[in-house]
């Protein structure tokens, strides 16, 4: 089974990739970017997609690697991941899944990273090992699939998407925070022959980026370069899904990231007193597979904010997981198909929310 005929070009730089997009559009041709191709190629074989031009961005240096910044507060950090990071690479990144973390800076001692259990969870149940070796985080986000696993976890981690395009063409609703703020580097003067950059980057929340079924805020002449996440620290997170038995896609999936109230008091003699009160400071709950786009369940989150976790409070929060907004009587838009009705998916989401909350709490970790 072959995709419909297309022309292929390999971009060597972000600038060239944007040029290739413009060239295709100027010739009135539909162009698609390909990195891992694990969603795009199956769609092309089925003629659900038939781009006339395919631009391979797998070699772009600007979309590789990542950076991270540790916060002063117990294990919290902000991280930026190159859009080309494969699921397999993510599952081997100690910052994300836990393990010994070495810095490129020789003066920084290696230390143990706690990881983000929700990320470990999702990477173990997403597609299969061979697909995870090729599929990329940028592709997962750009695809806008209503039933994809990773975006749910990213949403719960307040992920941001960095988009590159030509200056002045598109205005995105930019996020107020920027990851890895650039420190001024007085020692590094711009080269006198350096051309002014013709690439503009904007960073926006994933929550603003995702719009509907296979629909995002990415314009057809733009490219995702990186994904930023903010991990609150601690191990109180989980991803639970109910997979379709053949496709492994989530009929419903729920990601949960919790932080707890508490802290420590250190007296003059250096004695540390644990001040944890055990109630939930903040709950982030994201749901996928049941709605036109993965969404944050703000009504359920509101039930948990400040609450002491008990089976009853968790159940009360889960019961609100398909409610559109706190205090609203409306439901989020629900999807059903031949595999599972909208009502069944909503039921699954409630059960999975309870399970994910229970698992996250059992993993524990006071974190604020």
């Amino acid at each position: 089974m072959l995709p419909a005929d297309f022309a292929y070009a390999r971009a060597r730089s972000l600038d060239e990739a944007l040029d290739l997009l413009d060239e295709a559009h100027a010739a009135d041709q539909e162009a698609k970017l390909i990195a891992g191709g694990q969603s795009l190629l199956p769609m092309m074989k089925l003629r659900l997609a038939a781009p006339q031009v395919l631009i391979d961005i797998a070699g772009l240096p600007e979309l590789r690697d990542g950076g991270w910044m540790r916060s002063a507060v117990g294990g919290a950090f902000s991280g930026s991941l190159g859009a080309l990071s494969t699921y397999r690479q993510l599952s081997r990144n100690p910052l994300l899944v836990g393990g010994l973390l070495r810095s490129r800076n020789e003066n920084v001692q290696p230390h143990h990273a706690a990881g983000i259990p929700a990320i470990t969870d999702v990477l173990a149940v997403l597609a299969d090992p061979q697909v995870r070796a090729r599929g990329t985080i940028g592709g997962a986000v750009a695809h806008g699939d209503p039933a994809s696993d990773l975006p749910a976890v990213l949403l719960a981690l307040n992920a941001e998407v960095t988009i590159a395009g030509r200056p002045g063409r598109h205005e995105h609703k930019q996020s107020p925070l920027r990851h890895i703020p650039r420190r001024p580097r007085p020692d590094k003067r711009p080269r006198p022959d350096a051309k002014p950059s013709n690439v503009a980057k904007q960073t926006m929340y994933l929550d603003d980026f995702l719009q509907g079924i296979y629909t995002t805020d990415l314009a057809e002449d733009e490219i995702i370069t990186r994904i930023g996440i903010t991990a609150p620290g601690g191990r109180a997170s989980a991803y639970e899904k109910f997979p379709h038995p053949a496709s492994h896609l989530p009929l419903a999936g729920v990601a949960v990231v919790l932080t707890f109230k508490g802290g420590t008091y250190t007296d003059e003699a250096g004695r540390v007193t644990d001040l944890a009160d055990g109630s939930i400071a903040q709950a982030a709950i994201a749901v996928t597979g049941i709605s036109p786009r993965p969404y944050r369940a703000r009504a359920a989150e509101a039930v948990l904010a400040g609450a002491f976790p008990t089976p009853e409070t968790l159940a009360a929060a889960a019961a609100q997981v398909t409610v559109a907004s706190p205090g609203s009587a409306d439901q989020v838009s629900l999807l059903g198909d031949q595999h599972a009705s909208a009502g069944y998916r909503a039921h699954l989401a409630e059960v999975l929310t309870r399970r994910a909350l229970t698992k996250a709490i059992a993993r524990g970790g006071r974190s604020s």
């Binding site: 060597r12 631009i55 070796a133």
Partner: protein, 172 residues
Amino acid sequence: MPAAREVPVQLTVNGVRRAATVPARTLLVHFLRDQLGLTGTHVGCDTTQCGACTVALDGTAVKSCTVLAAQADGHAVITIEGLASPENGTLHPVQQAFQDEHGLQCGYCTPGMVMAIRQLIEDHPDPTEEQVRHALDGNICRCTGYQNIVAAAMSAAQVMAEALSAANEREG
């Protein structure tokens, strides 16, 4: 590089440099089978589910029905034909374990299974049965019920670990 319908592809397959110009839409599995005659890599479902087309791309198991030949340009591929010893044909321990444990019946899924298990043992040299079953998530077998495939994976891992420790002892 301007977009083109025919693309030059140069890659190393089982250690041998290969080059051809192919239609851009050529899939890696068809390049291997039709251009290079390496028909050990099978096309099963053709929809990224069954894993019969699994090969190692730069050392990592991938589904070659979901990779364009053009994407593999400049990279190294190992297929099932590249596993046995080129000198004397001695089977790779995973291949031998499939024979010993009766890990196949019709054999259609076997090349993909072997390539997936090769990757598993590289990632987890001492796998649990659960890890084996999890690692075979992307490979479908309609004959065996998987029991003997799992047994073959466990046995191959043990053989490879023993060979490694024997080699280490000789060196030490």
